[in-house]
């Protein structure tokens, strides 16, 4: 059970009253999340969490201090407030900081709550999963994955009278079908549990796990045309968020955006927006500083337009605020939690048919984007369905492959984009996810493969 609007705002107001600072703001989130994890076609971890936390930020002489607590008794609130005040007293003024948000503009419509999703029971989810498991057993297929649902109430406010409150829900399922030594993957995320169909995801994963089951080939490392599905792109964007899009990466000079705002860096076909107002994505109306959300174009036809920023870093770096503060006091100073990559006019099937020799990738594993941040050089491996395409047809399964690739180069070599886009959840982001098409890219650099241990 999450806190209602009256309770949430009351807790924020108590914190603001206790702050006794030049300015103060606070966010209060209460969460009811329920995650059923499964493996070997049975639920092995099943959890339900009701938690709530308050983050208070005080501003004294333009210096900021932050404290977070999960206890809202008078003493605990006073203790958190004192810690935040003490921190602010020791901090330096934030250069260029023009103060907390004051304008109180109306919020855009962003319906984020679904009653049925908030009410779904553990038994309902278990029964839906049991049907999927039974379907798999008919073909000797085991499932692993997770089915998550949750509700949250999110409130924020500040000493300038800003008060925001909304409720949101989410539902997400991932299914990995394991057919002996081959696997396939499918995932979906929505504000509404009714739109998440474990059975359909199970079928999609089975298709991937059994495709070209008896035809395996190997490849030589090198540059290959590649077709990437949305879960693969979501992994890449997770790192782009850290090394290229955040206010902090812009200020510390590691972002490819530095010196390139308004210049062509990527290909024409690459447009990336942070959009939490799209009703077909994962709507959310405001950020934790209380600014109304609006679509923010990060990259427009290959040209970087702005990093995503909290207000203090927008002021400091001289950008217009983008309403991307998701954690008060975050040292990232902005994160894009609703990344929406523009699609095109193609279909995945047309991309496969148009490929003379290429590789089709379902998802990536363990991507790392810290190799050379200024070119967004990343490495990772493929998993849960990597296929060889020859003369327009899927002809074989490939082992999981290692790749090392500059994303500046990759997103300059987009050949086609699908019209259909899909939502992928990301583990670090309770507010949104990634909405991406299938993308065909020329010359992706594969450098190795997963090989079983040789006899000693």
């Amino acid at each position: 059970m999450t806190h209602g609007e009256h309770d949430s705002i009351r807790i924020i107001e108590r914190a603001l009253e206790a702050a006794r600072a030049d300015e103060a703001d606070a966010s209060f989130i209460s969460l009811d999340q329920n995650i059923s994890r499964f493996a070997n076609s049975e639920i092995h971890q099943n959890m339900s969490e009701e938690s709530a936390w308050l983050t208070l930020r005080v501003v004294m002489n333009d210096a900021i201090g932050v404290a977070t607590t999960t206890s809202f008794e008078e003493d605990d609130l006073a203790h958190a407030t004192e810690i935040a005040r003490q921190s602010a007293r020791h901090a330096n003024p934030v250069r260029g900081f023009a103060g907390l948000y004051k304008e109180n503009e109306p919020l855009p419509p962003a319906p984020a709550f679904d009653e049925a999703t908030a009410a779904i029971s553990p038994a309902e989810k278990a029964l839906a999963l049991r049907s999927m498991f039974e379907r798999g057993r008919r073909d000797d297929i085991q499932f692993a994955g997770a089915f998550s649902t949750g509700a949250a109430s999110i409130a924020c406010g500040n000493s300038h009278g800003i008060r925001r409150f909304t409720r949101s829900t989410h539902a997400e399922a991932t299914a990995i079908a394991i057919a002996h030594d081959a696997s396939g993957y499918a995932t979906a995320r929505s504000r509404r549990a009714a739109e998440i169909d474990p059975a359909a995801l199970g079928e999609e994963a089975i298709l991937k796990a059994t495709l070209a089951r008896n035809a395996t080939e190997d490849i030589t490392p090198g540059a290959w045309d590649v077709i990437l599905e949305p879960p693969a792109l979501a992994e890449v964007f997770e790192w782009m968020n850290m090394i290229a899009f955040s206010g902090q990466s812009f200020e510390d000079g590691s972002s490819i955006f530095v010196g390139n705002i308004g210049n062509r860096v990527f290909g024409d076909a690459f447009t990336l927006t942070d959009d939490s107002l799209d009703p077909e994505f994962l709507p959310f109306p405001f950020d934790m500083e209380g600014l109304p959300r609006r679509p923010v174009t990060l990259i427009e036809n290959g040209i970087p337009r702005t990093p995503v920023l909290d207000k203090s870093w927008a002021d400091r770096l001289g950008f217009a605020p983008t309403a991307n503060c998701w954690f008060l006091g975050s040292s990232e100073h902005g994160a894009a939690f609703h990344l929406s990559m523009a699609g095109g006019s193609s279909t995945r099937e047309e991309m496969i048919a148009s490929t003379k020799l290429g590789i089709w990738v379902t998802r990536f594993n363990y991507v790392n984007g810290l190799l050379e941040p200024r070119t967004a050089l990343m490495t990772g491996t493929t998993r849960d369905g990597t296929f060889l395409i020859r003369d327009g047809k899927v002809v074989a399964r490939l082992p999981n492959l290692r790749w090392t690739q500059s994303m500046v180069e990759a997103f300059s070599n987009i050949e086609s984009l699908s019209r259909e886009r899909r939502i992928v959840g990301t583990w670090y982001n309770m507010f949104g996810g990634t909405l991406a098409p299938v993308v065909k890219i020329r010359g992706w650099n594969f450098t190795g493969k997963q090989e079983g241990p040789a006899p000693a």
Binding site: N34, I35, S36, F38, A39, N40, E42, I43, H44, N46, M47, E49, E50, A52, W53, A67, T68, T69, T70, S71, H79, I83, Q86, S87, H90, A91, N92, R95, P122, A123, A126, L129, R130, Q142, A144, G145, A146, I178, G253, S254, S331, N365, Y366, L370, L371, E372, R374, T379, G380, T381, R383, N400, R402, W427, Y428, G448, Q450, E451, P453, A456
Partner: protein
């Protein structure tokens, strides 16, 4: 606020359903403080206090878990009831019996040691210490960022089970590090001390920060970051590779720690982190590394952040081999997984806090030192590369194919350290790599490194683990 013992035990007693075979309850209070200085300013100063109670129930063959941050008695009782409902739902899909390895109940209390309480050191002292270190890295226009950070952590944990255990544990930890970022045109280089991502972490007090002596290392870090800007790029090809202690600690983490987690080997983590190439049938018969490779899990090391007295199953902390004389001999296990390989739990189940399900986690996973002084190891290398300090890491879903990037490398020619090299990458397959280990440096280069950010589970749990490692040499490793 702490719920009293009787309140935790009352919640367990409220679980009267005859299908319930086992239950436990944990309370945690986790406190963190983080101070970061960047370019002469306080960049980040925050404190977090997180309290939670979590109840875990085994009903039939289904596990259920429920947690709350509301520590009132009615809320704790509701969590217990919800955990039972969730366990009953899990049982609907169960196809195999859940067997728990036997343990004795324990009533005990334990705290990690420290000399100076990290939370008692005032913020001004922490800021001054970091300012002193970071100012020494500034001054050259190419140094784009000079930063330093100090973190304090304390977790108090109470555990009670239906088998009669009641265990109180408190760990106090401290971490810190500095970083210089140098930029020249399109070249971007980062150098850190003693490790990236917040530095090194130990279960100690402020004395650890004093021992790190970051101000004394600052100028070296600055100079190396600047030198990397114009250093030649590390070569591509096959080389004999000497891996420094801090980087080898991460290699142990990724290529031995994770694949020896029995839950991964049993497929229980496939949906997120993946599985393991080390399967139970390989226990005792698989050559993981060369005969000089010995890797132990040891949760009993004093002063390390991977240490504790009891895990979150209530099993005492232990020391045991994962790899002995190069052979794969052990897994990290918990009470509900160990029976699958015919063994008893070796006590490695932990949760980030009481709001998360306990799962198998690394403790202190250590590569045992060899008997060669590092200087001699270098002198015995005709043509090779020495790499130090992790920059990037990636490994496949079975923990076989890996690629690591390091902050810095040096050429070794005829037994001598030569030119500095930038952007070194090395890659390989786990057993091939460890089988190629032909020399391990002695205890003088052995150091235990605290890693406070090991991610696993859903929802993601960040666990504090550690790794002891010396430097070691690996033959014919692929670079680039």
């Amino acid at each position: 606020m702490r719920p009293p013992r009787h309140q935790l035990e009352d919640a367990l007693r409220s679980l009267r359903n005859s299908a319930i075979r086992y239950a436990d309850i944990r309370f945690t209070c986790s406190e963190q403080q983080h101070v970061k200085i960047r370019n002469g300013e306080v960049d980040h100063l925050s404190s977090t206090t997180d309290r939670a109670v979590g109840v875990r129930v085994l009903s039939g063959n289904g596990w259920g878990f429920a947690a709350t941050s509301d520590l009132s008695e009615p809320s704790i009782l509701r969590a217990a009831k919800r955990a039972a409902e969730v366990a009953a739902a899990s049982h609907l899909t169960a196809t195999r019996p859940v067997i728990l390895s036997d343990i004795e109940p324990h009533v005990a209390s334990w705290s990690s040691e420290f000399r100076t309480d990290p939370f008692a050191v005032d913020i001004a002292t922490k800021i001054d210490h970091l300012m002193n270190a970071t100012e020494r890295m500034r001054g050259d226009a190419r140094i784009h960022q000079a930063s330093g950070e100090i973190s304090c952590y304390r977790q108090e944990k109470h555990f009670a089970s239906t088998e009669g255990s009641f265990i109180e544990q408190t760990t106090t930890q401290m971490g810190g590090g500095i970083e210089a970022v140098a930029i020249d045109g399109s070249e971007f280089q980062r150098r850190t001390y003693p490790n990236p991502f917040g530095g090194d972490f130990q279960a100690e007090g402020w004395e650890f920060i004093e021992r790190l002596d970051m101000p004394a290392k600052a100028e070296t870090i600055r100079d190396e970051a600047l030198a990397l800007l114009s250093a030649p790029k590390a070569p591509v090809g096959r080389f004999d590779l000497i891996v420094g202690s801090a980087q080898l600690a991460l290699q142990v983490h990724e290529s031995c720690g994770h694949p020896t987690e029995l839950d991964r080997a049993m497929g229980l983590e496939i949906s997120l982190a993946g599985g393991s190439f080390l399967q139970p049938a390989m226990l005792g018969t698989f050559r993981y590394g060369s005969p000089i490779v010995n890797i132990v899990a040891d949760a009993t090391i004093e002063g390390s952040i991977g240490s504790f007295a009891f895990d979150d199953d209530g099993v005492p902390a232990q020391r045991f081999h994962l790899v002995e004389k190069g052979m794969f001999t052990g897994y990290l296990t918990g009470r509900d997984t160990a029976p699958a390989i015919g063994r008893a739990s070796n006590g490695t189940v932990r949760a980030e806090s009481a709001s998360r399900i306990p799962i198998i986690r690394m403790t202190n996973i250590n590569l045992e030192p060899g008997d060669v002084p590092l200087e001699q190891l270098i002198a015995d290398t005709r043509r090779g590369i020495l790499v130090e300090t992790n920059k990037s890491w990636s490994i496949d879903d079975l923990r076989l194919n890996f690629q690591f990037g390091c902050e810095v490398a040096w050429e070794i020619e005829d037994g001598r350290i030569g030119r500095m090299l930038r952007n070194p990458l090395y890659t390989g397959s786990t057993p091939d790599f460890w089988r190629s280990c032909d020399a391990i440096a002695d205890r003088n280069s052995w150091q235990i490194w605290g890693l406070p950010n090991c991610g696993k589970g859903d929802p993601m749990q960040t666990m504090r683990v550690a790794h002891g490692a010396p430097a070691a040499r690996f033959r014919n490793v692929e670079m680039g």
